[in-house]
Symmetry: C2
Subunit: 254 residues, 2 copies
DNA sequence: CAGTGGTCTAGACCACTGA
DNA sequence: CAGTGGTCTAGACCACTGA
């Protein structure tokens, strides 16, 4: 009854198409429950695996999410706006505010719920970026997870030369007002230039776990290098963002 | 023999784990053939659907790609570097070069293989960005696909007020030296400020088709607004990038 | 405790690839 | 033409959710 041209397109695709159309038409609103495996099995007279395959198409597209034991639901998307350039302006962190505070409206709070500060050998990649002479040289590794409204949205791992930050607040969990950049400035290494590199890919199992990601949700990777007036890289910050939670914004002149 | 703690983790995940480890260890190099469905069925003594599920984990992570009738292969990733800020500097397109030419090394060519220029009603979203008084106002729509080494990497749709660009080269497939921005400058609407917004998500079926994307490959969306000295938005350019083909770079000062 | 999604089996048939 | 991945069935059992 639904397919005059049932010819070439696989069953599971046709079922996914119908559900997708219904979602876009508003028949199912964000948060609504979709027909589940059992519903599709009887409605379309297909096997469980075929019904699952149809639903997994929508999950891979980021349109639906499954909650075990409860059902399959239409996803919603209300992103944070991360303004790449003003958040790193000296006037912002120089006045004692956190770089991260720029990303959220004042009525919401982006908080760190996991933090780990260690010292470890740099490794080849980090040594190259920070201009260390040898991959075994120690670096300070600041690893954090940020949570918004109880939802993890971002992982951040920051690398700084251990020789530079040894014994400073940068080695403490709480780096104090203005954060790492304010402390670097006090050490005479104020960052004046930044480079951000952006990629996107599907998460690893560990990332998916730590960010509590749904199936079809990619991560955005940002690698930022902070450079001093003398052209020396003093920090590499590698961030992993839940792509369903973020829009990045860059403003600049021609 | 492979699982002392076979307890909680599903079979398909354990198989995927082993393959992933082997890929990361270099046992399988980029382009190599991986064990296929039939191999996994006999090696691990599982049903076809379970072997498929294991392979689909790796495909979703972007680590492997299936070629029907041939096998499953390790994917490779060699991205283009898109330098967000210098490519839009007036000195670049002002001297007659294309904005896009900045994205590739001189020995490779990023070429347009599909182009369509039409006029259509703006619609609510575009009208809002371009500051049009009514969503029915006509806009010039320039839709292009870019190909690198025969591989489609980017879709671009550009919107400009029809009242402004009517009868100019901007309505032609070839906009001439320096492209749209050089023509806007000649009209007294030189863009001096840009805003780029970046998101990432899984592709729609159409995007997946036009960019010839593999299973677990997200797209990166860039929405750029070009603004004149007078603060008027003259262009909205919406781009859809194959995330496996691009790294974005933004350089700026504190 | 009824219903849900998650995992898994042992088969079948198909279109496609590449030697 | 042998081998491959893609689709599909008709069952089964499990852990989890929420009334």
């Amino acid at each position: 009854m639904t397919d005059p041209d049932s010819g070439r397109r696989p069953k599971y695709q046709r079922i996914a198409d119908e559900l997708r159309t219904a979602i876009q038409a508003g028949t199912f609103a964000p948060g609504d429950r979709l027909p589940g495996e059992n519903d599709l099995m009887s409605t379309y007279d297909v096997a469980r695996m075929t019904a699952r395959q149809a639903l997994s198409v929508l999950r891979n597209e980021g349109l639906a999410e499954a909650r075990k034991g409860a059902g399959v639901f239409v996803r919603s998307f209300r992103p944070l706006r991360r303004r790449g350039i003003p958040r790193l302006a000296h006037g912002h962190w120089g006045s004692g505010r956190s770089v991260w505070s720029a990303d959220v409206a004042e009525d919401r709070a982006l908080v760190v719920d996991q933090i780990e500060v260690t010292t470890a050998p740099a490794g080849a990649r980090v040594a190259r970026v920070l201009g260390l002479s040898c991959p075994d040289e120690p670096v300070c590794v600041r690893s954090r997870r940020f949570v918004l409204d109880d939802r993890p949205v971002l992982l951040s791992v920051s690398y700084l030369p251990a020789a530079l930050v040894e014994g400073t607040a940068i080695m403490e969990p709480d780096t104090g007002p203005g954060g790492t950049y304010a402390r670097l400035a006090e050490l005479g290494r104020r960052p004046v230039h930044f480079r951000e590199e952006i990629r996107s890919r599907m998460p690893t199992a560990e990332e998916s776990d730590r960010l509590a990601l749904e199936f079809g949700t990619p991560v955005i990777l940002i690698g930022r290098t902070a450079v001093t007036e003398q052209g020396v890289a003093v920090e590499l910050n590698e961030m992993t963002l839940d792509s369903a939670s973020y829009v990045l914004e860059y403003d600049f002149d021609a």
